[in-house]
Amino acid sequence: MSLLSVKHLSVTFDTPDGDVNAVESISFDVLPGECLGIVGESGSGKSQTFMAAMGLLTGNGHASGSVQLNGREILNLPAKQLNLIRGDDIGMIFQDPLTALTPHLKIGQQMAEVLNVHRHMTGAQAQALCLNWLERVRIPDAKSRLTQYPHELSGGMRQRVMIAMAMLCEPKLLIADEPTTALDVTVQADVLDLIAALQQEQNMAVVLITHDMGVVARMCDRVQVMRNGAFVESGLVEDIFANPGHDYTKRLLDAMPRIDTDSSRVLDANANVILDAIDVKVHFPINISGGLFGRKIPLRAVDGVSFKLHEGETLGIVGESGCGKSTLARSVLRLIEPTDGVVSWLGTDLTALDKRTMIQARKDLQIVFQDPFASLDPRMTIADSIAEPLRTFRSDMSNRERRDAVKDMMQHVGLEPTMINRYPHELSGGQNQRVGIARAMINRPKLIICDEAVSALDVSIQAQIIALLKELQAEFGTALLFISHDLSVVREISDRIMVVYLGRVVELAEAGELCTSPKHPYTQALISAVPIPDPIVERSRKRIKLTGDLASPLDPTAALRFLPSKLAAGELDYNPKLLETTPGHFVAEHD
């Protein structure tokens, strides 16, 4: 008998533009103890399905149909009766652990109120059980966490707290809505392992709502593929990955970049070096409270990074959040002034240029940002945005020539020239990112920096944008600095990859070599944590784990994270060197 049985569930929202059908008459079952994956891109209705089942729709949402928990109808029950189920029989965890916890209540208080409501437990008894669960989700130093506030914990720890809180009443069903999307890949791997272990231990059913096929391959027994509010395909995870029946599933699987596929190309070995960064440092002074006036200590966001970029080459820069990869990119363009170091562009030192000559140099140095919508001026038509670099650098062009150039560029990036008078809010995320790329490309720059340029996009759109970047690169011979937290995407597009950890390069090598034979322990851990969208491969892989939490970039000894021998020897200001182990493969010193 199924644990949760959903029949003909529909969800509609009243909006000023009329009714929107988010979910249309879907039916499925969740069996006891299984892990069911619900996969779909943004707007497919995958989250709203479960929000409706749990009575958590926003005020303008309506659900109809039937949702039965152990044979009992729970859809549209009054809040009083639903409250007996929510948090007790069914636990939920959400995507963003930063905003999903109440900011002004201590962890212990937030957890204990669940026990208070469902088990009438209070005081020391409740605290003891909370502590027990915090330990079971493997939070280091669990006891002191009870009296901490959410903002005092890291993202991974906050998600563990969410899980512990959902587990307090040992639910029969855990609904996990994109539980790892906001987390770094190594943290994601830990959290997924934890959920899988708890599922086994408690014989609990898990519904995993995600857009990431790799996560599904790692975790799920069965999968339902959802699109536009309806299921297009469902079945056992092995079958779906091996023989996807529906076109959409096929496209989704094809669009997923894989870290174990080779997509390398042959580069001209004699290409000139166009960008040469030597020992670039960016330090931010951080206020530390204490004493009457506080004091400042430097945060070493980028701490001595050197690399070369050749004509027409793509260098991928990978690292987890807070490692300084975006700061590095911006300091190369002097959008953030580097504290120290030389950025040599075609032989001239950019850091020595005055404002006027720097602006001239920017003609060949362009950047595409992460959030396509926020990085375009909402009050300018897309054609105006694309034309702006021409206005700045090509004042010799007439209006007609400029308009023709814009239309031509729009066609290159796959935008209809008829969209010339549209505004960013009228376009989708993928289309806006094409506008961002067209704007960066219009002067045929020699270098484009892509700062997480595809991270905010759905997988299928992401694949299109990557293909576009590759095409444009082949056509115009542009060099790319491609920055991303996602190693699979970086491998797909890069010729060489540089791995950054706390503002320092730990490994730099040709893309295929770095992914197949990583030498630095951090790179090894990173690569082993990236899920591969193939259940058979994924489940046979060995995880390499790093012990301990991410060090703080404020810690002056952070550079010695992988050199404990120097730390033990008391050489606290030792700088790990980047050694060339085989030609073109650089690895930072480690123990």
Partner: protein, 307 residues
């Protein structure tokens, strides 16, 4: 937090000093003086009077004497207009009155405003919401110099329930109308601000988490939603607190309460430098103190803020 408070109090000293100096020179830059009148005094008499009050001295000397008297003797000087009364007397008489009805108005505006706003947000898009929003807008639109005469017309002249003015030691029948007149428009603003703030909070992710935990509506609102709701409201309450004390000149005039507002405006018109500066310093110090309290309140509402 202690170090922060000390630091803020230390910064307050130069702040208030700058306020005094700026006011001093602005006041003296305005044409006329305390003893100019329609019928000019004989020059010899004027010179005598000015010498008695030290107005014949150079400006910097006057300012220096004024400041040293405050620091050494806490003496804000004699009034130029009221003979035998100095500034300390004027403030001692008027300030308790302003403080009484001002503080009561502040309490009424805050309590009623918050209640209306919260009720409207909880019952979003129901008749309670519409009623609260309607009341809020109406209250906000009515300035206190319109409220005053209307209240007197209705409750004194037509119904005869309440005395039309006077203070009488602050007995409650004399307090009701001043407090209502002063608090209404602030109450309206607070209600609307609270409503929109709470609606935003109720749509946030942590409220969804709280609902998913099976908590009752009551616990969600009071334990989880209230503190974040108060953040923007508290920002607004600080200036309101100072306004209800300074903006009470209308109340003083309509209800003859004899508070400091009337004395303050009067002193500006008659160039009574001493009273004007004295009351300015008082309000300045009050503003500094209230903004410190507001900043400390932030730390209580949001644990992310640490001083």
């Amino acid at each position: 937090m202690f170090a922060y408070t000390i630091k803020r109090l230390l910064i307050a000293v130069p702040t208030i000093l700058m306020l005094v100096v700026a006011c001093f020179f602005l006041m003296h830059a305005a044409p006329g003086g305390p003893f100019t009148s329609e019928r000019p005094l004989p020059p010899a008499v004027l010179a005598n009077i000015e010498a008695r009050y030290g107005l014949d001295q150079p400006l910097w000397k006057q300012l220096w004497d004024y400041l040293t008297n405050i620091v050494l003797y806490f003496d804000f000087g004699p009034s130029f207009k009221f003979k035998d009364r100095d500034v300390n007397d004027v403030i001692a008489q008027g300030f308790p009155i302003s403080l009484t009805y001002g503080f009561l108005s502040f309490l009424v505006a805050t309590i009623v405003g918050l209640s209306l706003g919260i009720a409207a947000a909880i019952r979003h898009n129901t008749w309670i919401d519409y009623l609260a929003v309607g009341l809020g807008i109406a209250a906000q639109a009515l300035p206190n110099f319109v409220m005053g005469p209307i209240l007197i017309l209705v409750f004194t002249l037509w119904l005869g329930w309440l005395p039309g003015g006077g203070w009488n030691g602050g007995q409650w029948p004399y307090l009701i109308m001043p407090v209502i007149a002063l608090s209404t428009s602030y109450m309206g603003s607070i209600a609307r601000l609270t409503r929109s703030s709470m609606l935003e909070v109720l749509n946030s992710n942590f409220i969804r988490t709280a609902r998913a935990k099976g908590l009752s509506d009551r616990s969600i609102i009071w334990r989880h939603a209230l503190k974040p709701t108060l953040m923007p409201v508290v920002t607004y309450l600080g200036p309101v607190f100072v306004y209800v004390l300074t903006g009470s000149v209308f109340v003083d005039i309509y209800f003859s309460t004899g508070g400091l507002g009337q004395a303050y405006v009067g002193s500006a018109l008659s160039r009574d430098y001493a009273i004007l500066l004295g009351v300015t310093i008082l309000y300045g110090a009050l503003t500094v103190a209230v903004s410190l309290i507001i900043d400390l309140a932030y730390a209580w509402l949001d644990p992310k803020i640490r001083y």
